[in-house]
Symmetry: C2
Subunit: 376 residues, 2 copies
């Protein structure tokens, strides 16, 4: 059986391994501690630092294929492994480009992919020279994640909030919609495109509130979104499963926000909602099988279950039983011992032919379940 490795053992790894059990494959995972969401679901677990070159190299040597569930991995090791014949999906060059917002933005510009206008800043002080560009969004080039490393700079006085590290200052888009396009690319360059997903974002946490698939869009936006997402993935010239996050403005122009070269939160609904889930699809690419069917089984929606504000400690899923007794819901708890404010603890997918019922159920779920901890 083929030996496949995953760098990272969070919930994405967990769900990848659930899907792996449908295929003949020996799975290897590297993560800091076995006590992570994916640690117990693989054939071979390696405790290690996925940002350490020698550890990643040693882990990958001898495997047939390697993938990632997070971008913050050591790329130098992946390049060595790739050069020595280990298949690395996505290609290391893609991860290197995407790891830094600065190189990711340059990539879009070089490939004439529409992305919000920006300038590069190296220090916070530079922003005082750029006030003509406000309001704008300051984004750390490295280390931003789930809303961290992003700062809205509306007026001159906000300049003190700027990051004193390499960053981009990005023009603020008059966002009317946020979409995600999942695109699969096989080793042979064949593509499979999922229907667009509309994401509703929590403005406080900058985390996904809920998402609907397929998004109902005017044709004009639909075709632009698909064309742009395909162009992004084709430009990377790499096999993999990609999530292209798109912004639609008040002129119905479509802009690439960012791309994840891996399975992604915006694709969780595909586990039940589409014939081939994003996790199944990535295994098909890793195992060199034909790509799967991206058609929806039924319309679906997904609600993230994140740690409630003001609670940290052993997770308690308040209201979970009520959600479990609701029809058409699929509960996914990631098995993390500890909750923290905003931490992704699980998600719930809803499937229904009636879209108003989908929204109704999402709203009901959001008001029913909370991840809290015992008051200390």
């Amino acid at each position: 059986m083929l030996k496949a490795g995953i760098l990272g053992g969070g919930q994405l790894g967990r769900m990848l391994l659930q899907a792996a059990a449908n295929y003949p494959v020996i799975t290897h995972v590297m993560e800091k501690s076995m006590d992570c969401p994916a640690g117990h679901l693989c054939h071979h677990f390696t405790a290690g630092d996925i940002t350490n070159e020698e550890q990643v190299y040693t882990f990958g040597k001898g495997l047939d294929v390697l993938t990632i569930e997070i971008e913050r991995v050591n790329v130098a090791a992946l390049e060595r492994l790739h050069a020595e014949g280990v298949r690395v999906i996505p290609h290391p060059a893609v991860i290197r480009t995407i790891q830094k917002k600065i190189s990711q933005k340059s990539f879009y510009v070089e490939h004439s992919i529409p992305t919000p206008d920006y300038v590069i800043t190296q220090t916070a002080a530079e922003l005082s020279q750029l006030t003509d560009r406000l309001p704008a969004v300051h984004k750390l080039s490295e280390g931003g994640y789930d809303g961290r490393g992003v700062q809205v700079i509306t007026k001159q006085e906000d300049v003190s909030l700027a990051f004193d590290a390499p960053a981009i200052l990005e023009k603020m888009i008059d966002i009317r919609r946020e979409l995600s396009m999942l695109v699969a690319c096989s080793e042979q360059g064949e593509l499979a495109v999922y229907p667009p997903v509309e994401m509703m974002v929590d403005p406080y946490l900058n985390q996904l509130d809920y998402q609907i698939s397929p998004a109902i869009l005017p044709d004009e936006i639909y075709w632009k979104a698909e064309a742009i997402a395909v162009k992004v993935v084709q430009s990377f010239k790499s096999p993999g499963l990609f999530a292209v996050e798109l912004l639609v403005d008040s002129n119905n122009d479509v802009w690439v926000n960012e791309t994840a070269p891996r399975v992604h939160n915006s694709g969780h609904h595909t586990m039940e909602g589409n014939y081939s889930s994003q996790f199944d699809m990535l295994w098909r690419i890793l195992l060199n099988y034909p790509l799967g069917n991206t058609d929806p089984v039924l319309p679906s929606a997904m609600v993230n279950l994140v740690g409630a504000a003001d609670y940290a400690g052993k997770a308690i899923y308040e209201g979970l039983e009520q959600v479990l007794s609701m029809d058409h819901c699929f509960v996914h708890i990631y098995g993390k011992e500890e909750t923290r404010p905003g931490r992704k603890m699980g998600h719930i997918t809803v499937m229904h032919n009636d879209r108003s019922e989908l929204l109704h159920l999402c709203n009901k779920i959001k008001h029913t379940v909370r991840v809290i901890a015992p008051k200390s």
Copy 2:
């Protein structure tokens, strides 16, 4: 987190553990060798003999809840554990009743549950006194599985084929349909009934050829099947997930063939075809969650992938790529290294709103994929 144990680590355990990853639960598995389909998907694996009283007792002691994926387990150990406060689902008494065909049949008779008429035989010689009952089916009381331990005795000359061990000689039913009813029962006695499944059986291997859900049945049969399945499960007075196999004769009478007090081959389609799969449902029972929704998402069918005759050795899945490129199919390979004639190696589920398309796809799958081994 609750600690749950599974006795047996075959494909049913594998799929149970895939479903377990949706919930906060620590999983323990006992099986002969870790190199079994479920061995790598649990938190804690114990190599041991599930028919050995002390080993099962030691495994179960300290767990919160125990279940089985096969009936051939040590019941005495489960009775001790149950008495000491470990939840055992299904109850040990149910497993004891079902392990032996003789006690299982007596149970149906005692509870006025329709089951084909039979007599008990202790030796092969007894059959020569029972020729007025031919044609009949001789079934070993213990150890029969997947068609083994079942012998059709048509005429006096066949008596030499009879089993020389405790068995039942069962009246042959003029079978027109074989149905399976999956019924879930919670600790509180609440029931959830899946739509009936029609099974098409390979007469040579006595293994499932393909199955369709929901079965399209005349109302009369539908209601009888449901009423009988519910009666069987209520009579057991035990929580669990039960598969009640039913035979329908030419008078549209419905008879219980046998019951499995566990997840079952006839429920595999529920993984994609129903809102709560049989595996999800059993976890809900084990974790004391509300029962799930048994509604079909879409009509579905399932094809077993068994080892081709005349091949034994390292499994090769001939034609798998063609099936993977067919729309509406879900492939499940159990990860067994070695194939043998008739060995269950995987299954493929198909979902489609159009039932004639379902049958067409099942037939296409059966003629596309074969599990073989290299010719020695």
